[in-house]
Amino acid sequence: MSRSELLAADGAATAALIASGEASANEVLDFWLERAGSDALNGYLWRADRESARRGVAADGPLAGVPLAIKDIFCTEGVPTTAASRMLETYVPPYTATAVGRVAGAGMPMLGKTNMDEFAMGSSNENSAFGPSLNPWDHERVPGGSSGGSAAVVAGGLAPWALGTDTGGSIRQPAGFCGIVGLKPTYGSISRFGMIAFASSLDQCGPLTRSVTDAALLLDVLQGRDRMDSTSVGIEGGIARPSAERLDGLTFGVPRGLIGEGIEGGVLARFEETLLKIADLGGTIADIELPHAGHAISAYYVLAPAEASTNLSRYDGVRYGLRASDEDLLSMYEVTREEGFGPEVKRRIMLGTYALSSGYYDAYYGRAQRVRTRIVEDFDRAFGDVDFVVTPTSPTVAFRLGEKTEDPWAMYQSDLFTVPMSLAGIPAISIPAGLARPDGGGPELPVGFQIAAPAFAEQRLLDASFALEGAIGFDGTAALEGGVA
């Protein structure tokens, strides 16, 4: 197999090559390890070698031999897991996350652990304690976040596919910025055991891939009830390879009220074009209302930090990770946490603690939970009329490094379209819709198109996305060399 053929093969194609004997598992692994080794995007925080890549990995399996990159938020026994934080810089877990166990059980070697925003808090990967990851389309721009490293390595030809996590858009938004596919499945479909918690009622594992088929293949391996996670249910019936070519009889709802100010011209243009393609495939477009979705960011930035503030309290210098002071108990706590956490994490811990504190719970956390209910109801109502809800994935294309770091709220606004689905717990996918220039001028950069479906309707979602993907015909190969030094 030639190197360019190996590079061009996505997960499904690689699996087929190995299964048919056209390429050997060793050949494939060596190829990708070498690619990962020339990481110019700071996409990897840790890279495997041949031996460590295969440790604990089944020899056979449906996707045997196709290597995978794993966001450094998943605990991997014996392999450093940092969540891109100084707090866990030296942490080596004594156990492995269920999701990782499943991909290993399917025969997928681990290429490495990818960069991310610290503790999954961010939309640009600029909050990593180990430097930002870069967008393969333009090294001066962000790949998105928090699964920035995973998106970058897949788009930049440093891994065929990757695992990420999505809490408010952290798979979909970077997928959109990097021109690849990113899926956030229904909350509860994939086990969270071993996935370092940010916001427990929102976090979900999901695939970042070059194709919708790849996302489906990974989802099928990952999903399932796990007795180590009380909130996991799996997806009944599993996931089959998508095969639809048309969208006849399906309705796609557009929440026009949400799509207004702050959206770049190019993004809007690609969005409208994609709607036309849906129509060409036989789908119907309808206007819908999600009356409370405009409050989603506010609700999210109360709920997520609140849950994060308690989830991150265990990082205290006692049992593992950083201990920055031994002077007395209070100093151990305060100095360790002051030095171990970056500014965004501290900001969210403070915000979350405030929202839960005595006298403020009802006005903030309590209220945000009720607004969440309203948003759940909005989607329930919408899905009574339409099969899917569609939006641009983000209001903008990938922005420049440093562009939004001054104003936290401006950064939070990037999640405008993705957060409502997270709050409702419903599945949503981002597929590349084309390229566009940013409003202020610049290179052509990927634009993501988001499709959301009712809870546990992943099969229909993937089928529809597959059909649309075919019609769009996005070509991301230009970026595949953007990852190597």
Binding site: A97, D229, Y361
Partner: protein, 478 residues
């Protein structure tokens, strides 16, 4: 004019459940093992771990709720209680704040506000610096205990004195012990009791400022501690001062109360619903099983015995100790028409004392069986042997496991029941002891003792004391 003050006391009792594994992970429960040999990523609060509740702990909790006559909640859920301390690895404890599994119960005179499930903290051992917490060099944390299932029982402030707390506490302990869901051993820490104490003018409805008394490991110490605290509060108020909210520890050795920490800097626990756990909705089948599985509990058992005629004291003693209650009931079953009152007195009195006397024999290992004791009691009741002789027989039974009738025969302990024969001896005794006889005839009834003694000597103790007395009095003209 001085105001009379009354004490108002509420209790928070923590019961460690005797399940095999911890509340939220599969580590085994233990006591006294080497530190940190029963831990896992979950109870060590590693990044990424999640809790899954122990179904047996939930069932035990429902049984406790049923035993305390509580309403068992149709939906209960878990919450996070946030605070930083080395023995609290997640820096939050998973507990039940908003919707506990049981509410509105009662045990004896005391109403139960609610009972909830939670996980125990780990153990911190303070090293260095002469045992004081502050000023010592370091602490060592052992996570074996961390995660043990606890049921916390909170009473209404219905208790009024240290003595009542001790008695009620003992009833609660016996009740939970009867269920078999906990060792309820205060010294080992499987039962812990904290008291909230305040005082108010007698008859008032308002509640005064309360203090909290913690860390005492016996109900007797709790009683003394509470009494000391009530006295302290009364003194303060009598001097015109105000009671300050604080946490106290009672040192039984010195009888002094020490402040542990001021409650002014009260924790802000920032409770929120536990997102990693889903609600518990007990099925009717489960609730029926919990209620149906209750054995006869001590309070009910004591009442049943009292209704049979057993003395209150003996009824309580038996009801609090299942083994003894079963022995007692065995005696009743074996003997023909044995009076329960009499049987209870023999079991809790003479028999218990004899076991203690003979090297503190545990009941379970005793050579005496209920049927044997029933026979002995029957012999005494029928006046075939005197009560005193009965004790002698009992001694042999406890020591050797001997058959009571055989011992009576062997030692010649049959009571003289022939009134004619006895009367002859009585008359002889009066003749032989003219002085005491004269004293009795002239009004000094106490002198009859010497004559009774003479008769007993002549009969080698085999006379029925009551009968001897009756005959003497007749022959002395009383």
């Amino acid at each position: 004019m001085s105001t009379e003050y009354e004490a108002v006391i509420g209790l928070e009792i923590h019961v460690q459940l005797s399940t095999r594994t911890k509340m939220f992970c599969g580590c085994e429960l233990s006591f006294g093992d080497d530190p940190n040999v029963h831990t896992c990523p979950i109870c060590l609060a590693h990044p990424g771990v999640l809790p899954v509740p122990n179904e047996e702990a939930v069932f035990y909790a429902l049984q406790i709720g049923a035993a305390l006559d509580c309403e068992l909640s149709p939906i209960s859920s878990f919450d996070r209680k946030n605070y930083f301390y080395p023995d609290n690895p997640k820096a939050y404890q998973i507990t039940q704040a908003a919707r506990p599994f049981a509410v509105d119960g009662r045990l004896g005179d005391v109403r139960i506000h609610h009972a909830h499930l939670e996980e125990d903290a780990a153990k911190t051992i303070h090293t260095g610096g002469a045992g004081r917490i502050a000023g010592s060099d370091a602490s060592l944390v052992d996570f074996n205990r961390g995660g043990t299932p606890l049921v916390e029982i909170v009473t209404e402030p219905d208790l009024k004195s240290g003595a009542q707390v001790r008695e009620w506490g003992q009833l609660l302990r016996a009740t939970i012990k009867q269920l078999g869901v906990s060792d309820v051993n205060m010294e080992e820490g499987s039962l812990r009791c904290d008291a909230n104490i305040s005082i108010r003018p007698a008859g008032s409805d308002e509640l005064g400022t309360k203090t909290e008394l913690k860390n005492m490991n016996s109900f007797r110490f709790i009683e003394r501690g509470i009494e000391a605290e009530i006295a302290r509060q009364k003194e303060i108020v009598a001097a015109g001062g105000e009671v300050v909210q604080e946490t106290l520890h009672f040192d039984p050795a010195s009888g002094e109360l020490h402040s542990l920490r001021s409650k002014e800097e009260a924790h802000d626990y920032r409770y929120l619903p536990e997102p990693d756990l889903v609600p518990v909705v007990p099925t009717q089948e489960l609730l029926d099983r919990a209620r149906g599985s209750l054995p006869e509990l001590p309070a009910a058992r004591a009442q049943r015995y009292e209704e049979m005629g057993v003395s209150e004291q003996a009824a309580l003693l038996l009801a609090f100790e299942t083994e003894w209650a079963e022995f007692f009931e065995g005696v009743l079953d074996a003997g023909d028409a044995i009076e329960p009152r009499v049987a209870a007195n023999w079991v809790t009195g003479e028999f218990a004392a004899e076991l203690r006397k003979q090297d503190d024999q545990p009941l379970a290992e005793s050579k005496v069986d209920p049927a044997g004791l029933a026979t002995l009691i029957g012999l005494v009741a029928a006046k075939k042997i005197s009560h005193g002789a009965g004790k002698t027989v009992l001694e042999a039974m406890v020591a050797e496991g001997s058959d009571p009738e055989a011992v009576v025969a062997e030692k010649g302990l049959e009571q003289i029941s022939d009134t004619g024969e006895l009367e002859k001896i009585v008359v002889q005794a009066i003749e032989d002891n003219p002085k005491p006889a004269e004293q009795v005839r002239s009004g000094n009834e106490k002198a009859i003792g010497a004559l009774v003694g003479a008769v007993m000597k002549a009969t080698q103790g085999r006379a029925d004391g009551g009968e001897v007395n009756r005959l003497l009095r007749r022959h002395l003209g009383l």
